[in-house]
């Protein structure tokens, strides 16, 4: 049997494999998110016009910069699979941890389903362009989920190395599109006249409404934390990978807005299915069209791949702590992956990918993500209050505390209003689901948890306790 941890004093133990570096962390975070540049963000422009789309891009960028800074500090200290779930368990308490674990699994599984739907849609579009109408999308959706689940099953190093390559190609495609357009390689010149002529076609409320879709630019960067138990040096790799990831996304988001807004009239851009691919078509360059189509497919695959990785780690961690049946807390003896969690989540993702509309699936993902970000703001305040800087060593200390936590909370509140404007029923349904799940956990499931075993960090007693 390979790679089993044992000492003379302790029994044999199977652990997840520590093989990842900062590049893999970057690939996990950016890989999950970059699909948001290729599609979805542009509905922000449909909600409020070009200026609102840019404001949404930067306001959401500020929100996620706060998320990345807070996550980098806490995760470099709580280096455990499950990421924010493990943070909540140590800093807030079990009920919060159970909810955060569910937020993570729902957010990533829904996003994985959304990506699979998108792959089917893209292939249908290509088949239509070649004269084949009515493509059966189901086998391609199922194949995307099955292949990526199998890759995750076989090992984290191959999974995230694959993610690194396809994410880097998708990011370079955006850079190349920008450079070609900027240096006159497009048939159609950049035109920003609508910024002056129709700056805010729906007024200031359009800016609020557009923030909902501005989140798509960055949704999922917090997923870097899920690699905490598989990186060689958590205190170094996680902050490097996460902060490099958010910088990459801020650049990619701004370039995407710039190129697409300059090439495509905002009335069309606000409804486009694949805005970057459409921008490449407008340039008239076949090479750019092919490149951006490849970028779209690769970004979608990278996102689904990262989502499988993250959802399975969160589910595995909850199983390991007996928040869910311990059966899910198993590690593969050869591949050293949470193989039962990976396999268990496959049919759940497929049910949503094959049976639910894309906008509903993605909205549920965004709502679960938002609930997680709201948790992060007061989690950070509690972390610094219970364990001040002079009590435990962090891999990274974020500046200006508590300003990022306050900004994050305010922006989350704004985003809730924005989501409520468009998807109020889903927001209420989601809250009801989490309340029912919390009641189940509190009154039934928590009796199975080994309460002393779940707190694993060698930290001093928190201040005030």
């Amino acid at each position: 049997m390979a790679n089993v941890t044992s000492t003379a004093a302790a029994p044999e133990r199977l652990q997840l494999l520590r093989v990842l570096g900062p590049g893999h962390v970057w690939a996990l975070g950016v890989g999950i998110v970059l699909v948001g540049e290729y599609m979805g963000w542009n509905f922000a422009i449909g909600k409020g016009g070009m200026i609102a789309g840019l404001v949404a891009c930067w306001v959401a960028g500020l929100l996620y910069t706060c998320v990345a800074m807070i996550d980098s500090e806490v995760t470099s200290t709580v280096a455990a699979a499950g990421g924010q779930y493990a943070q909540a368990k140590h800093i807030v308490g079990p009920l919060m941890a159970f909810n955060v674990g569910l937020f993570l699994v729902m957010a990533y599984t829904m996003l994985e389903a959304g990506n699979a739907i998108t792959i089917g849609f893209l292939l249908d579009t290509v088949a239509g362009m070649q004269g084949h109408s009515g493509l059966n999308q189901q086998p391609f959706i199922i194949l995307a989920v099955m292949f990526l689940a199998w890759l995750n099953y076989r090992g984290v190093l191959a999974t995230l190395t694959f993610n690194f390559v396809i994410t880097a190609i998708a990011f370079l495609a955006i850079i190349i599109l920008f450079l070609v357009v900027q240096f006159g390689g497009s048939n159609v010149p950049l035109d920003f006249s609508a910024v002056a002529e129709e700056p805010l076609p729906y007024g200031w409320v359009g800016i609020i409404a557009s923030i909902h879709f501005g989140l798509w630019y960055y949704l999922g960067i917090e997923g870097t934390c899920q690699a905490a138990e598989e990186v060689r040096s958590p205190s170094r790799s996680l902050p490097y990978g996460t902060m490099a990831g958010i910088m990459t996304l801020l650049i990619a988001a701004t370039l995407t807005w710039y190129v697409c807004s300059g090439l495509i009239p905002w009335e069309y851009l606000g409804q486009a299915g694949t805005p970057l691919f459409d921008a490449a078509r407008v340039t008239g360059s076949t090479g750019l069209m092919v490149l951006l189509f490849i970028g779209t497919i690769f970004s979608t695959l990278a996102s689904a791949n990262g989502c499988i990785n993250d959802a399975s780690r969160a589910w595995f961690s909850m199983g390991r702590d007996r928040y869910l049946p311990i059966w899910f807390g198993a590690v593969h003896p050869v591949y050293r992956t949470p193989y039962r969690s990976i396999v268990f989540l496959v049919p759940i993702a497929l049910i949503f990918a094959l049976g639910a509309p894309l906008d509903q699936v993605v909205t549920f993902s965004i709502l679960s993500g938002l609930l997680g970000y709201t948790f992060m703001s007061f989690n950070m305040v509690m972390f610094r209050r219970k364990w001040p800087l002079e009590t435990i060593k962090r891999g990274y200390v974020h500046p200006f505390h508590p300003l990022p936590a306050i900004v994050l909370l305010v922006l989350c509140a704004t985003a809730y209003i924005a989501v409520f404007l468009g998807y109020g029923t889903q927001l209420i349904a989601m809250m009801c689901f989490y309340i029912v799940a919390s009641l189940w956990f509190h009154f039934w499931r928590y009796r199975f948890v080994r309460r002393g075993d779940q707190f694993t960090m060698p930290w001093p007693r928190p201040q005030g306790y």
């Binding site: 499950g82 086998p139 099955m146």
Partner: protein
């Protein structure tokens, strides 16, 4: 039958293949190894040895 019809059948076949690879391996591992070993992973291993977060 055009190329896309063939690709549909290929996608179905590959989906079944990847599902079978995972399920067969899962059944093999679960029947070969003791469940206590498979679920023996514990959080906080690196904190217990290398990164103790001491100032």
């Amino acid at each position: 039958m055009d190329m896309w019809n063939i690709l549909e059948y290929a996608a179905w076949a590959l989906s079944v293949l990847f599902a079978a690879l995972m399920l067969v391996d899962l059944a093999r591992v679960d029947s070969t190894y003791d469940n206590d070993l498979l679920t023996s992973s514990r959080e906080g291993e690196i904190e217990a040895t290398q990164e103790r977060h001491q100032i």
